[in-house]
């Protein structure tokens, strides 16, 4: 099957007062039609910048240095800014962590939805209004007609996120990028939003690129997982394999550092230290300073991302030590 999204060697850098900072370093991955791919990592790992690079929303200081992004058979590199604006919200949509800052506080929900629809679909205002209201119904907002006339501040966090989902999915995009969509929400609301995203995207055949740091959310939603660390992909595999047999010490550390919901009194094993500040100038593996398996080779040369088992890539020289005995 052909893939919806094909990212090759994506490298994104930002100009800062202290010189150029490479936030995303040679990232390659594919996303199939209808698939849910999770991008996991801690703050500063480059997961959000990867998403923003796809949407080309990097701002003035950010720039895609190298790499190619193929979306639905066409290269996004060669697309003009005007065409890109057409694609955003139509073919590829994005929802953010904080729906309050993503919605305009001075316009009604209805106004913002209608505007979004009419940017992409050539229909009159009345039809757009009906469509908007139907969409609000679909995302489970009670009394959609009234909410259409309300302003964002009068809605709760969960309701605002539903509005964002309605806006993102109203044009039935092929790809939904969800950047920490449930992080700001309470767990019960989080569960509702996860269910909603999953259900709507299955109906529409929309693929999801799910960006999160929450491994619980990943375990619930994802088909496949990419783990990022310090701007690079360190591991990639399907969700079941990742949780059963991680082949990168960072992933393994992450999994050991979250309390499981099973009742087993296991001690938490923390990953010591923190991401090194100037990791881009490191010679060796970027995780070496926190890694229990690091050898001299790890400190002097950088391991490549290798498919060590079919469908399972890792960036580690010592991955065999992590393999479980069969």
């Amino acid at each position: 099957m052909k893939s919806l999204l094909n990212v090759k060697g994506l490298t994104t850098a930002f100009e800062t007062e202290n010189g150029k900072v490479i936030s995303v370093d040679d990232v390659s991955f594919t996303l199939k039609y209808g698939e849910t791919l999770a991008l996991v990592g801690e703050s500063g790992s480059g997961k959000s910048v990867t998403a923003l690079s796809l949407m080309r929303l990097l701002g003035k200081r950010g720039k895609i240095e190298r790499g190619d992004i193929q979306f639905d058979g066409a290269s996004l590199q060669t697309v003009s800014e005007a065409q890109m604006q057409k694609l955003r919200g139509d073919e590829l949509s994005m929802i953010f962590q904080e729906p309050m800052t993503a919605l305009n506080p001075v316009f009604t929900i209805g106004h913002q939805l209608v505007e979004a629809i009419r940017l992409h679909v050539n229909i009159d205002k009345k039809e757009a209004k009906t469509l908007a209201q139907n969409m609000l119904d679909k995302v489970g907002i009670p009394n959609a007609a009234r909410v259409m006339k309300q302003f964002p501040f009068s809605l709760s966090g969960g309701m605002r996120q539903r509005v964002m989902i309605a806006m993102a999915l109203v044009c039935e995009p092929k790809l939904l990028i969800a950047d920490e969509p449930t992080t700001a929400l309470d767990v019960t609301v989080q569960a509702q939003i996860m269910r909603l995203m999953n259900q709507l995207c299955e109906e529409m055949g929309t693929a999801i690129l799910l960006i999160t740091h929450d491994l619980g959310v990943v375990a619930e939603m994802a088909d496949r997982v990419i783990v990022m660390y310090a701007g690079q992909i360190v591991e990639e595999t399907d969700v079941f394999t990742l949780f059963r047999e991680p082949l990168h010490p960072y992933t393994q550390g992450l999994l050991a550092s979250i309390p499981s919901m099973d009742f087993d009194d296991k001690e938490l094993t923390a990953i010591n230290g923190a991401i090194p500040a100037n990791y881009q100038h490191l010679q060796g593996c970027r995780f070496a300073n926190r890694c229990p398996l690091a050898t001299e080779a790890c400190r002097t040369s950088q391991p490549p991302l290798v498919e060590v088992v079919p469908g399972h890539k890792t960036r580690c020289f010592e991955w065999q030590q992590l393999q479980r005995g069969e």
């Binding site: 989080q190 569960a191 399907d238 992450l254 309390p259």
Partner: protein, 279 residues
């Protein structure tokens, strides 16, 4: 682990905030943030307090330490009834609090050394000439290098700043520590470091914790008993094992079901019908 002497007794505590409306500023109603809560914490024990935002769990923590005025009810510490108007000073040596965001709770223009020295000086915990030594002891206690004392909060990462927050709370040698979402703002791999620090400090210093959080995983890991709060009331309280394995209240069950299990073979929220990466 626990002796049979309650260190803290909370009895029917209410914290109400008046709603004022109209030009006369008449009190028309009350927001009942904490609405008749009772529980005990035994010496050396960790009680977890869970609930969603707005359920009153932080307000309860702040009421216990006297940051919010108590509307009704009684709080006893070590057998003594607390009077927050007169007992402020002695109270702060007994109960301390660690906040969620260590950045906004530290003064950006104070060095870490100053942050830690101030309570020592004000409360005369050690003699003035011993303060530098005591500051170094506190830093070592929370796993920070002693060189940290001449640096400012912005030079530290989130996890390190939380360590400073903990050291500051421990400066007065309290017996009860209220931890208000102390790891929620931290990265996953750092959360475990701080959780383990809490456990280690409890063993070394015999501390008692009231651990407030919305993340069930963290609470389960650290607590001996858990109280579940909803709309200002404790709806269920029991041992950690009881709450997780034999929840009684419908809300507790809902909360447990909604919590994403970090194990894809035990999905409870989403049933994927098709797709799957391996076609």
């Amino acid at each position: 682990m626990t002796t049979k002497k309650p260190l803290l007794v909370v009895q029917n505590v209410k914290t109400y905030y008046p709603i004022k409306t109209g030009f006369m500023n008449l009190k028309t109603d009350y927001v009942k943030a904490v609405d008749g809560v009772s529980f005990d914490i035994f010496e050396g024990e960790t009680v977890g307090l869970v609930g969603e935002s707005g359920c009153g769990k932080s307000t309860l923590g702040r009421t216990i330490i006297g940051l919010e005025p108590i509307t009704d009810g009684h709080i006893y510490f070590d057998g003594q009834q607390m009077d927050y108007r007169t007992d402020r000073v002695s109270l702060s040596k007994q109960i301390q609090i660690v906040f969620q965001d260590p950045y906004s709770s530290l003064n950006p223009r104070q060095t870490i050394g100053d942050v830690l020295a101030e309570p020592l000086r004000v409360h005369r915990i050690v003699a003035a000439r011993d303060i530098p030594q005591e500051v170094e002891r506190l830093l070592q206690l929370v796993g920070l290098p002693t060189t940290a004392k001449s640096r400012y909060p912005h030079e530290f990462s989130g996890g390190q700043r939380q360590r400073v927050g903990i050291a500051r709370a421990l400066a007065l040698r309290p017996r009860l520590l209220i931890c208000d979402e102390p790891v929620s703002a931290l990265d996953v791999s750092i959360q475990a470091q701080i959780m383990n620090l809490f456990k280690q400090l409890q063993q070394e210093l015999g501390l008692t914790y009231l651990f407030i959080a919305h993340g069930l995983g963290a609470v389960k890991y650290i607590s001996d008993r858990i109280a579940v709060m909803y709309a200002g009331k404790i709806v269920e309280m029991g041992t950690t094992e009881d709450i997780f394995l034999r929840p009684q209240h419908a809300y507790t069950k809902t909360l447990l079901r909604a919590y994403p299990n970090p194990d894809p073979t035990k999905r409870s929220i989403i049933q994927r019908t098709q797709k799957g990466a391996l076609e």
